[in-house]
Symmetry: D2
Subunit: 329 residues, 4 copies
């Protein structure tokens, strides 16, 4: 089969490899769709550690076509992959904090992933999807599951105001989750096209800069969700938060990079600064919300590529305005 593999830092290519054989407890999935995520580019450039050679791709779904010993999920089932496979026995797993597992093995990061015709991974990480779902939508369960975890933490309420910083896929999903929770939502993103998309997905209002956002909501938002992952937005998040409100950081800055916060302002206004990491126990809710259509996926698919173009698309930066590119092997 064909697979897009990282061979070394800055060396990614699509090559022939044998179809994997599912071990005991594993499924073999024929991949239908796999999203290109910023993390794939970080792995390529060595900004996140990895052990090449490795097939990338951790946001994917497909059809079960083979099963190792002891697997009960029927062949032919459409499934989405939860890439994070926690150990269950480290000190964090044992207290239920499985997203902080010290031995996490992520499909597409620590073992071969979804930029391939076929992928084998643990069957308990394969979440069923409806047979009639658009095959491309299943690739969004993982980013949605991460976003649900962050939004749960922020706990938006009906009648509150929520401000989303950043108009990528995480921002667009957070926006939809806050709208679904009854909040009045503002999207802050620099691109006019993303602003328009945000409004079409339910944002009441949009802004391009901190100043614009402050002018629109002078008292700030009850909940600010940072989905850009850059210094500017992390630093302005508390400032755009209402007295007594919450900030949730979903965006990832590079390790070692610091930002400046003003403790006096946080304390006198009792603004809480929360961080949300990946998807503990939320993948299944994500799969259901996508299956029921509660979260709209079509508008956040910017491009569909064949597998042969995956390597080039990962090497190039995302084109301006792109939300998510999906590889269809």
């Amino acid at each position: 089969m064909r697979a897009t593999r990282l061979f070394a830092i800055n060396d990614i290519r699509t090559v022939d490899v044998p179809v994997p054989v599912p071990a005991a407890g594993e499924v073999l999935v024929q991949v239908e769709a796999c999203g290109i995520c910023g993390t794939d580019r970080h792995l390529l450039h060595g900004e996140f550690p990895s052990k090449p050679p490795l097939t990338l791709g951790h946001e994917f779904s497909g059809i079960v076509v083979g099963r190792g010993a002891g697997v009960s999920i029927p062949e032919g089932t459409r499934v989405t992959c939860d890439p994070n496979t926690w150990c269950g026995t480290c000190e964090n797993c044992l207290r239920g904090r499985v997203n902080l597992c010290l031995n996490n093995v992520a499909t597409g990061i620590h073992r071969d992933g979804g930029f391939a015709e076929f992928c084998a991974y643990p069957a308990h990480k394969a979440h069923p999807l409806p047979a009639d779902l658009d095959p491309l939508h299943g690739a969004f369960c993982e980013p949605l599951a991460c976003t649900i975890h962050g939004v749960d933490m922020g706990a938006p309420k009906a009648g509150e105001r929520a401000l989303i910083l950043g108009g990528g896929v995480i921002g667009m999903l957070a926006l939809q989750l806050c709208v679904a929770a009854g909040s009045e939502v503002m999207l802050l993103t620099r691109s006019p096209a993303k602003q328009a998309l945000g409004r079409s997905l339910g944002a009441a209002i949009t802004a391009a800069t901190e100043e614009e956002a402050r002018a629109l909501w002078p008292k700030g938002a009850d909940l600010v969700i940072e989905c850009a992952g850059v210094t500017d937005t992390v630093e302005c998040a508390p400032r755009l938060t209402r007295s007594g409100g919450r900030v949730v950081i979903l965006g990832v800055l590079p390790a070692g990079q610091t930002v400046r916060i003003e403790p006096f302002d946080l304390l006198f206004r009792e603004v809480q600064l929360l961080s949300s990491f990946i998807n503990p126990f939320t993948q299944d809710r994500a799969a259901r919300m996508i299956a029921t259509g509660a979260i709209r996926i079509d508008p956040v698919i910017s491009r569909i590529l064949p597998l042969e173009e995956a390597a080039a698309a990962i090497i190039a930066p995302a084109p301006p305005g792109e939300i998510r590119a999906i590889v269809r092997p």
Copy 2:
């Protein structure tokens, strides 16, 4: 009567003033004890805003000796003052966030306080104390109420580890609250005398520096409570927190001063950064814990002064090793 009054920035003196007359809904209290707090020094130096002339002193207790119309609390009752008198009608009060009241009137900050023989203030802010309580102990209800709010937010559990940064009165109260909640407590403070005091109050272990603390608890603490209010301790708090843990900031840095945090570290270890401001709905629990002796007060009283020495004690910085100086008018 005599009262220690702020007349202008850097001008504080003890002078003769008329005994106040309690208005409708107010009590007149003969002050038995009033603590000198860092805030008094900030007000003196103009680092916090105030409208002199004003009698300072917001941590005090005494005996009810007079009552305005409509007050039912009997004369002769020992009471402690909750200085923070929220309006009940601003947008924050209306949603129960009374410590964020936009119109808070604090006795000893916005109206005449407790460095005086007598003080009049709203009767519903006078919390009864037992007749046989040590009169000096009532002055600690306010700082304890603030600390209870922060510790509630951090939610220490039996069997967890809690690290207290700073060995002033707030640190010593936070330490005792975490011990009472069943946590194993470390106190980090530079002074050997304060370390020894911390151990006598229940700390399992003490440290003088971030490095020492890390060597003792390499995985960090489930809960870190910052009670020093300086850049160094705020910056090291998340680094000394265990994966999945919580930081509560109680210490106050100057407005405008910023600190550096590393978002990547907070996010990948899901460390939450919480800030706690004054004492919403906790004054009564504080009064009860002091009344029952659950929190030990004697060891945190460093000095007892007459009113005539209050001004000089506020003008001078706190002597090294001092936890709390109490003025007995």
Copy 3:
């Protein structure tokens, strides 16, 4: 002025009384609308205690036309009344549980209320409403505030299932709040007309009996909100709850009446049984949700009556299918 007053158990009449004079801290309001609530009938029949003579009516709004000393809210403002005036100083108020105030004084229950041309009550219990709001809508802030408290307690999440038991005004408001929070909602009520109304307000599905509800959702609902206040619905609420789910009881059964629950079933499925009492810190959110139109009010107004018909309407049981009758003095 005219006022509908309770003179003794089962003796309610509309009579002439002087216009009240607002005391210090009170507003005088010209009543625009006052809802007839089951509580009014309980007071008439002596099922709830009261001290007649008394003007009933605790769900009302109107225009400020007079002010006692110290009131800043401008004349001409449209306001809704939060009838519950907690003392601020009892042991429950002091720990922030103001809805459990031991000395609560409720306008329309313990002091003259809104079935009158004018009503005087504490100004801090008058919540501003927009000048252009439909005058009848303001009368729904109190029941909505109670319902918000219960729904907050139940914490519906986007993507969950919520089941509302009872199609009165509380049920219809709970239904809308759960829809606004992103839940899939079922309404169980025996009346086909109320079922139809429920669907038009956003219920995905309706049922008339426990059996029907179970057939539709065999695994139960994540959240069941009891809004009928009868033995049957309280007893079936846990049985219709999903494993791991929450029941919130809003309905009021008579004092002393008991119901049967099965502890084994609650325990093995870890179903939590929560009760929600009146409106702590939620009146303002209610006023805002009504002002913005987030909650639809017109469909739950069944009848509009003049004040002269109020007594008869309270004496008679609510006609079948009635949601809320509003008195317009």
Copy 4:
């Protein structure tokens, strides 16, 4: 080896069976101590379902003496068994509610357990204990883990009052956990010997009846933990709870048995009725609290038996005053 096996309802005997061979992923443990729990008697009498023949015993610890493929825990390690082995893939596991697993396999209930010289079970359910721990103490990790879950749910606070109903092993552990959390604790149990034991473990006060408890604490307890599992104590639990307080039910009544509650009383005092089932993510904390001596175990061991006496001890009802009998194979 010898093993105490259930052959049919009311037929339990100690017999010779082969030493089990650990499968892949399993440990073989030489049992040092196994507690006799009420559940064992329920299984014997057919009150809980089971599929004999089966070796009973789900509260045990011992030394690792053999390992299946892929197990890393060293031979010689002292371990305690978490009997509940959730599937990880059912709808409840997927949302993190692992104690509600639809496919739970409990060692000693659904597969051979600890009343035997050796027991094989999944290695990830073996929690390390210190080498120098008293071998008998490890058998208490499972009941303590269940109790921790219930106490977490009740969230006792320093300075609050907690009332424990029932003086068995669960009651004595709940008592110690609430004392460790800083609460003032009352133990209600009919036996004077158990009352005395409760006081020696930190209870401030004891009572034998509801009336006595009410006389001692007329306003009730902030937290009531039901650990008796009988109708009387479940029914009186809300009545002994303070306004605004919480009830946690840990005791198990037979399936189908109902109790009477008074919804009016729960609602007007906003008393919450919570139920706690087994030990999700708490076994490790339990093991640590026992290892550090934070929870005292010796006083709750009433008898130590050889394996040959286990069957008779299970057949007989627990002798009056017995807290826990431990079988040492």
